[in-house]
Amino acid sequence: MRYLPHTENDRRAMLAAIDAERVEDMYCDVPKAALLSQPVDLPGHAGEMEVEQTIAAMAAKNLSPSSAPCFLGAGAYRHHVPASVDYLIQRGEFLTAYTPYQPEVSQGTLQYLYEFQTQVALMTGMEVANASMYDGATATAEAVMMACRATRKNRAVLAGGIHPHYFDVTKTSAHSLNIELVHPDSDPTRPADPASVTDLIDEQTSCVVVQSPDMFGRIIDLAPIAEAAHAKGALLVAVTTEVVSLGLLEAPGNQGADIVAAEGQSLGNALSYGGPYVGLFATTQKLVRQMPGRVAGETQDVEGQRGWVLTLSTREQHIRREKATSNICTNSGLCALAFTIHASLLGEEGFTRLARLNHAKACQLADKLAAVAGVEVMNDSFFNEFTVKLSKPAHDVVEALAERGILGGVPITRMLPERSDLENFMLVAATETNTDADMDTLVSALKEVL
């Protein structure tokens, strides 16, 4: 067994050293009835090559977006990740380290978390950020719980344009804590209307949660919503599923957001069928002690040298136990590192260029699709993703495209099954990875299918 260093001689010597005759003696505290008398019914060990073959056989049954034109988004975006990102995150000192509890031997992790926090704060236009959450959906749920703690109110208004998974995760957490959620429907055939949420804010409202670009791709002006929320003593939670958009669009922090919850997968992280991703969480200095999750802070060592430690741990479960701001412990450290390295490579110039390129690609795709009979582009505004109305049910169209080796879009009803009125609506995304040829392939296939 290649992962186990002991020889039989070692094992015998060690058993003797602990005064055990047999390994079973070590399990003397286990009730006899609970000890298995025979091995579990699973296959035996296998060599590395055989294991690779088994996994590769499963991989071969999937349609890989690396070989299929892919226009899928809906909160997870296919971007080109520079080779050095994946190389660097696989350095063993990053990959195989634990949470940096011993700062003297964890300065690498702590410094990159501090860089990550700064990058997230800059992109979102917020004062501070934490060291990551599991994903954008859980970050959103944590933001609502934090807003309820901070305002001591138990009601939240979630705009209709919130990603349905983000809403469902928030609803699941809110149920446990008796937080009342108000969630109006949204109509993708019309521009988003701020009044659809501002009218719902009352004195009992802890926060308003607005996603921009929203789940239909529409860009929302957060400022009037922030103003309406603040007037009633509520916080604005701004959500972003595509962090690259912040290279072109106004930062939520500049529009009055009190908390930003976002998905950071787009930078540095593989699509990986939905996880692991990296939740971004940013807020104001004023609210920092209500913030969930780990956070790295600057300090000095005994020689006066600058260094970093995990800090504000009195908010956390290992100190506060049932009074903690969150139960989160392990988060998305390595995904945060990938995010940070990709963002460092991009820098100001690369990040803003990438954002413009994405928008340009989406504009190009929107124009091409608008010219196809049976396709209507619904959005007045979008970043790299928009909603189209098709002449046939989107589910059937998507399946027919997949049969042709094209990943054409996401049916809205896959995310909102109760909205049968949106059966013909499909979400389409374009990024820097989509070539002109990809778009032409999609256009010709749609002409066949519709």
């Binding site: 060990h45 690779e52 719980m145 692991p276 390595l334």
Partner: protein, 528 residues
């Protein structure tokens, strides 16, 4: 000037001692010390107009931006690719990982992370799959999730598993929400509001119970490091929703009354949540399902070798009993004659899912790595691994117990707990002792946890360590203990000396938090 002279004196000599033989090397002009590099923040290395990615400079109009084009610069620093690669390489060198050395962090299961797992997770057709692809185009991915679920259910002897939780604490949330849903289903939501948690539990347990709206009632331990069975029974009542019990527990001991505890909680109408953080002790030998549990999370990043990555990502699937299985959250994979499909919404389920815990379908990248590990070990290898893990912990116990104070007698499981009695009257604390270990090239054990003993030192060697490594570790700890007993407390107070940074001021960090870089004032003014 005096500084310059000291530099001159050091020329041509190695490690000129300053103030004693153990003092750090002298200061250098650059701030770097040989292979240990002084490394600024990326923000301090920036030049405008520099980038590490070549992208076309396209211009876009405002027509489709809804009037929301960004007005100011983001403020990200500009670096080239070689600068970025060197920067993060240097940062990595300031870290301790399992690849570097022995990492006996108790309850964290820092075992070897095989690289074939990484290769598998990056395979074309897995690592690049989009979560919203049509289900017909991801049959292999769903097969992989289903196969991993089968291994987990078989190893645990449980009928169902919820795969989506993203980490251990997230799995706890899943389990406790399932319990809450079951209680609501019975119409007892208003009355069953109390959860029993042993005082030795990890902090996530009470935090999770609170996040589910339960009140937390602490159960005392007995003098054998286990739950006090009588005290536990005395706390049972018709307001109890369940118990959250870690088994093997955080003292490294198997709860030998576990079946009685299960029977008693069930008789009282509550459920049994088992924290599976320590499953590595019993894989292939004991099935939690045979102990009467109702749900238990597994930390795939502990027991099944996926990298901890400096604090995640993990995955925390939760096995469920027949009683709780109907309440498992969406999404889940179903296998029928038409192949695999995903149930993504409560309305599409024929059961009673309590909701959704995260975006999409779970930590696929972690699933691939874990399944790769399971297939590599097989049933026989997994049993041998858990056995070796327990053997290694007992070996440490046996070889150290004459000089260090083992908290509880008898055989331990995969980790062994010491307290600070052996340091009494030496002036050396658990923290000092741990910091001295760093200078010896070992990562410290878990300190001050669990809270049930004074100055806890919890060591978990895992199955990955050879006898040679353990022997050197034992020899080192014995030597350090000799030094402590000899009254050399200052040696410990000053540790670590040989690390990129020495002891850091955590109090100052918390009192006046500096959580991000900001441009120094004089620079900002000069730029204007």
């Amino acid at each position: 000037m005096s500084q310059d002279r000291s530099r001159d004196m050091s020329q041509g000599r190695t490690n000129v001692p300053v103030g004693g033989s153990q003092a750090p090397a002298t200061q250098t002009i650059s701030g770097s010390k040989g292979l240990e590099f002084a490394e600024p923040l990326i923000f301090e290395m920036s030049e405008n107009g520099r980038t590490g990615v070549d992208l076309p400079d396209v211009s876009v109009g405002d027509e489709r931006l809804g009037g929301m084009r960004r007005k100011d610069a983001v403020g990200l620093p500009g670096l080239s690719e070689p600068q970025v690669v060197r920067h993060y390489t240097r940062l990595s060198q300031k870290n301790y990982g399992i690849d570097s050395g022995f990492y006996p962090l108790g309850s964290c299961t820092m075992k070897h992370n095989p690289r074939v797992n990484e290769k598998a997770a990056r395979m074309k057709g897995l690592g690049d799959l989009h979560p919203m692809q049509p289900v017909s185009s991801v049959q292999g991915a769903l097969e992989l999730i289903d196969t991993l679920a089968h291994w987990i259910k078989t190893l645990c002897g449980m009928p169902a598993v919820a795969m989506s939780p993203a980490a251990g604490a997230h799995g706890e949330l899943c389990g406790m929400m399932a319990i809450k849903a079951a209680i609501e289903d019975r119409g007892e939501a208003d009355t069953r509001t109390r959860v029993l948690v042993p005082e030795s539990a990890h902090g996530t347990n009470p935090a999770t119970a609170a996040a589910c709206g339960f009140s937390v009632d602490s159960i005392p331990g007995d003098d054998r490091g286990r739950v006090d069975l009588e005290a536990f029974k005395a706390k049972l009542g018709d307001d109890v929703a369940g118990i959250m019990l870690t088994n093997p527990n955080t003292c490294g001991l198997f709860e030998n009354d576990v079946i009685d505890i299960a029977d008693a909680i069930h008789e009282a109408g509550g459920y049994f949540y088992c924290d599976g953080a320590n499953f590595n002790a019993i894989v292939g030998r004991v099935r939690p399902g045979d102990l009467g549990i109702d749900c238990m999370h597994l930390n795939l990043h502990k027991t099944f070798s996926t990298p901890h990555g400096g604090g995640g990502p993990g995955a925390g699937p939760v096995v469920l009993s027949e009683a709780l299985a109907p309440f498992a959250p969406v999404p889940y994979v179903v296998h029928d004659t038409n192949g695999y499909r995903l149930v993504e919404h409560q309305a599409d389920s024929d059961a009673k899912p309590f909701g959704r815990l995260k975006g999409y379908h779970g930590q696929m990248g972690v699933f691939i790595r874990s399944l790769t590990f399971m297939l590599s070990h097989g049933a026989d290898g997994l049993l041998q691994a858990s056995t070796d893990a327990v053997l290694n912990a007992n070996y440490l116990r046996a070889q150290l117990q004459d000089v260090m104070s083992v908290s509880f007698g008898g055989m331990c499981m995969h980790e062994v707990l010491f307290d600070d009695h052996f340091l009494k009257d030496t002036g050396v604390t658990t923290l000092d002792f741990a910091k001295a270990m760093i200078d010896e090239g070992f990562h410290p054990m878990t300190m001050y946890f669990p809270l049930v003993v004074h100055g806890a030192l919890l060591m978990e060697p895992t199955e990955s360590e050879s006898k040679q490594t353990l022997d050197l570790y034992i020899q080192t700890l014995r030597g350090l203990n000799d030094r402590a007993q000899a009254g050399d407390a200052d040696f410990f107070k000053e540790a670590p000396r040989l690390t990129p940074r020495r002891r850091l001021d955590e109090t100052a960090a918390a009192r006046k938090p500096v959580l991000r870089w900001t441009e120094p004032v004089e620079q900002a003014e000069a730029a204007e």
